[in-house]
């Protein structure tokens, strides 16, 4: 649904994007993850026809933003980093404005506006100017405005930045709901947790390059550093197990962290050792590295230019 190869963009002497390749299948939730200044917003602006790349080829829903931007614009809904709502108009007027610009017609346009107000829980605030809305309400209106045309691809640039935890959860639900309806989602985020929760596929952008790409699980496997946590009924058991595994006993505790990747053979060997030492094990859990580990490991190696 979205594909890009070799996208370059520089402003003056500053290279922002250096050969970015992307491939987002239809119906997926894709997360472009990266720290501030990685080039996330520039990527979104190029894909949504706002700026032209210096080089590279792009297809959005089969159309080329360089030669046929209106075909791309007809297929996408965009919610930028800063809520792009008209603060002087009411929520309803904002949606009707978009419907009018899309030539939906008077009655269908009003019906669509009412549907979206209902869907985004803005019906009671529909007749109030958007200037009086809270941050979360503005975001919801912003996203609703991107959906008036029922787009096939939705771009969300940092959709949860500035929202409180409840607003963030609600936004995640909204995004999942859109994806369940068959919409392809392209979101950017600097929160690993968010990408981990939502995305089917994550690309990690760092200094204008994609440094890693895959499912959340695949990315986590790129980084060693997992461990197995053993739980014992008594601290004495912890000590015996530690000695049997050649680790320093942690003292008066009932849990023991054993380094390892959590693969089946390593677990089998671990359990055999504990059996041989005659320790009663109460529980066991495998910890793969989380995305934070991936993020830090991969971005630390990509030295800044």
């Amino acid at each position: 649904m979205i594909s890009a190869t070799g996208v370059h963009k520089a402003y003056g002497g500053t290279i922002v994007l250096e050969g970015v390749d992307l491939d987002v299948p239809a119906g997926a939730i894709f997360a472009l993850l990266g720290p501030n200044g990685a080039g996330k917003t520039t990527t979104v602006n190029i894909l949504t026809t706002l700026i032209r790349p210096d080089a590279g080829s792009i297809r959005i829903a089969g159309a080329d933003p360089l030669t046929d931007p209106d075909a791309v614009r007809a297929a996408i809904g965009v919610t930028g980093q800063f809520a792009a709502v008209d603060a002087l108009l009411t929520g309803e007027e904002n949606l009707i404005l978009i419907a009018d610009l899309l030539h939906l017609g008077r009655r269908p346009g009003r019906r669509r506006a009412a549907e979206l107000l209902e869907l985004f829980d803005l019906t009671t605030a529909a007749r109030r100017p958007a200037a009086t809305y809270s941050g979360g309400m503005r975001r919801r209106l912003d996203i609703a405005m991107g959906l008036v045309a029922t787009p096939r691809v939705v771009f969300l640039d940092e959709p949860t930045t500035g929202l409180d935890p409840r607003g963030r959860r609600a936004m995640w639900e909204t995004i999942r709901g859109l994806a369940a309806g068959g919409v392809t989602i392209f979101l950017t985020t600097q929160y690993l947790e968010e990408a981990d929760h939502l995305a089917d596929k994550i690309d990690l952008l760092h200094h204008g390059r994609i440094v890693a790409s895959g499912t959340p699980a695949e990315l986590k496997r790129l980084v060693p550093g997992g461990h197995v946590t053993l739980t014992f009924a008594e601290p004495a058991g912890t000590d015996t197990a530690a000695r049997a595994l050649g680790l320093t006993p942690p003292g008066d505790r009932t849990t023991l962290n054993v380094p390892g990747d959590g693969s089946v053979p390593s677990l089998r060997a671990l359990l055999a050792t504990l059996d041989a030492a005659g320790v009663e094990l109460e529980g066991l859990s495998v910890h793969t590295p989380d995305l934070d580990d991936v993020f830090l490991a991969l971005t630390a190696t990509g030295a800044p230019r």
Partner: protein, 257 residues
Amino acid sequence: MTTLAYAVRDSNTMLRRNLRHTLRYPQMSVFLAGAPIIFLLLFVYVFGATLGAGLGGTRADYLAFVVPGILMLTIGGATTGTSVSVASDITEGIAARFRTMPIARVSILTGHVLGSIIQTFASLVIVLAVALAIGYRPTANPAAWLGVIAVLAMVCFAFTWLAVALGLSAKTVEEASNTPMPLTLLPFLGSGFVPTDTMPPGLRQFAEYQPFTPIMETVRSLLTGHSPGTHLLTATAWCAALALIGYLWSRYRYNRL
């Protein structure tokens, strides 16, 4: 529908948006019409007797002399409103939203231009009404009035495009409220408030050749029932040139957002 029909329809949608802004945020309109009214009262009641005597007449004669200048102040002042509202759209992200939609791109600008012209005309009518209320009695016939309206529309059109360009060039809304300042002050440095032959050399040449002077002379001639002569041609040329510069400059800035 043809491309042009879409452009007209989208411009109309944008125009309605801008007019709604005017209703929701009337402070700006009140200020834009209020400032020239204050200048009118100031010049007529504070300076009017002395300046009228300088013209060889009375306060009432000065009122008749100064009205075209006040009308130009109204148009010059309105550029601030246009520039600010364009800059707000650009900096608040809503223009970026419009640009990711399959709409006639020019409609974002034409909506502002049409909205500003309507708003400026409303201000001009209010200012004229105040002038009439304090005793202004123009001697123009209906044909001359039509000429006045046409000239004012032409001037509005030209200065609004310049204001759009200034709004698009500004990095912040504050900057957009400052850059039109020269347009607001320019009418004072012309033949609107005192005859240019009373000015010192240098300033006098500037006053005689700057665009507002032939425009004010044209409007004054029409309102007093005289033929504007070559002033009309010069004024038209200035407006055409300024409108073209404003339009091309706006287009250049807009394509580089």
